[in-house]
């Protein structure tokens, strides 16, 4: 899966998890601060949905404070190629 495809799948999960993001354009630079409802309380639920949607398993410490969607895309790409 390319980084672009991973980004597309992640954008779907973001929109499904956070209704406030329905019309938001999700890019590699998108941060949690820019998405209504995406706070530290909701972050773990989002990550578990990403795991299910992309069939990956994160090391929790690697993802608890990722700076932006791009960081998550790179991490997923690494996990998929490992």
């Amino acid at each position: 899966m390319t980084e672009s495809e991973i980004l597309q799948r992640l954008a779907d999960v973001v929109r499904r998890t956070f209704p406030g993001a329905a019309s938001l354009t999700i890019t590699m630079e998108t941060t949690a601060d820019q998405v209504q409802g995406w706070d530290s309380l909701a972050h773990a639920l989002f990550l578990m949905r990403v795991e299910r949607a992309l069939a990956v398993r994160f090391e929790p410490m690697d993802v608890v404070d990722l700076a932006n969607i791009g960081g998550l895309v790179c991490l997923i790409a690494r996990l998929m190629s490992a």
């Binding site: 209704p19 309380l41 909701a42 972050h43 773990a44 990550l47 578990m48 929790p60 410490m61 404070d65």
Partner: protein, 269 residues
């Protein structure tokens, strides 16, 4: 007299209540609480308060980044950020992290639920018959519910990362004790045990004596306790609760998990 301001949500109101009573502050400090949602006259008063604030304790919430009080701070004010204590995996269906239950409203008396249950809200349409809905909720025989143990792993990582980022140790304490000690009454409401721990860590950062903390830490949040789901108890191997544990409901009743869920369904349909 030096002034200390505590900024944050209802959890910090609990910290403030303890601080006000402590010998370390009683005579020698002016201690104020600034609630993050303040507006109008209260906000104006808060802004004026910050002119001569010596120490500001800021709860680690994103709201602080856009709070108008930031601009009113003196450069001389010492700012200490401290953790917002919660553990979402104990209440994996709470509205805080899942989104609200559209049928919820803040009722009165024994109809007053302080916390929303997103899953019960979602099941309202999916399982209109109340007894069937109760069974589905109890057994979690429904799609898209989080893996509770995995959820706890992410929450533990968050707490430890917050400790490292803010130079506190309370996250480690929660991770080490949440299975065997009752640290929360609800997702964001600490018990006296945890509140006292947080107060002690703050006093340590301030270089102040912790004498009197246990005596001054009352059960500020014990009036409304959200039951643990039996499958949370089982999957996280919680030892401080079981299916028969009773939880304080607005200081009026003590309800089991099942009685609480039945009441929620009865009140909100």
């Amino acid at each position: 007299m030096p002034k200390l301001v505590i900024w944050g949500n209802c959890q910090t109101a609990g910290v403030w209540e303890v601080f006000r009573k402590l010998p370390a502050f009683a005579k020698d400090w002016e201690v104020r609480h600034h609630e993050l949602w303040a507006s109008g006259e209260k906000l104006a008063s808060d802004l004026a308060d910050l002119d001569n604030c010596d120490v500001l304790l800021v709860q680690d919430l994103r709201n602080w980044n856009s709070d108008p009080r930031r601009a009113a701070l003196s450069p001389a004010t010492r700012i200490i950020r401290f953790p917002f204590c919660y553990f979402a995996a104990l209440w994996p269906f709470d509205g805080h992290q899942n989104g609200p239950d559209p049928g919820w409203h803040y009722g009165e008396g024994n109809l007053q639920f302080g916390f929303q249950d997103h899953l019960l809200g979602r099941l309202r349409q999916q399982e209109p018959e109340p007894e069937r809905r109760l069974v589905v909720y109890q057994t979690l025989a429904v799609e898209d519910v989080p893996d509770i143990a995995r959820y706890a792993a992410f929450e533990e990582a968050r707490l430890l990362r917050d400790d490292s980022r803010l130079d506190f140790g309370i996250g480690r304490y929660i991770v080490d004790h949440y299975c065997t000690e009752r640290l929360f009454h609800a997702i964001t409401h600490p018990t006296p045990l945890l509140l006292a721990r947080l107060v002690r860590e703050l006093l340590d950062r301030l270089g102040l004596d912790d004498a009197g903390v246990d005596e001054c830490t009352l059960d500020f949040f014990g009036y409304f306790q959200v039951p643990l789901h039996p499958l949370v108890i089982e999957r996280l191997r919680i030892t401080w609760a079981d299916t028969d544990t009773r939880y304080n409901f607005q200081n009026r009743e003590a309800l089991t998990f099942e009685a609480y869920v039945r009441r929620y369904i009865q009140v909100y349909g």
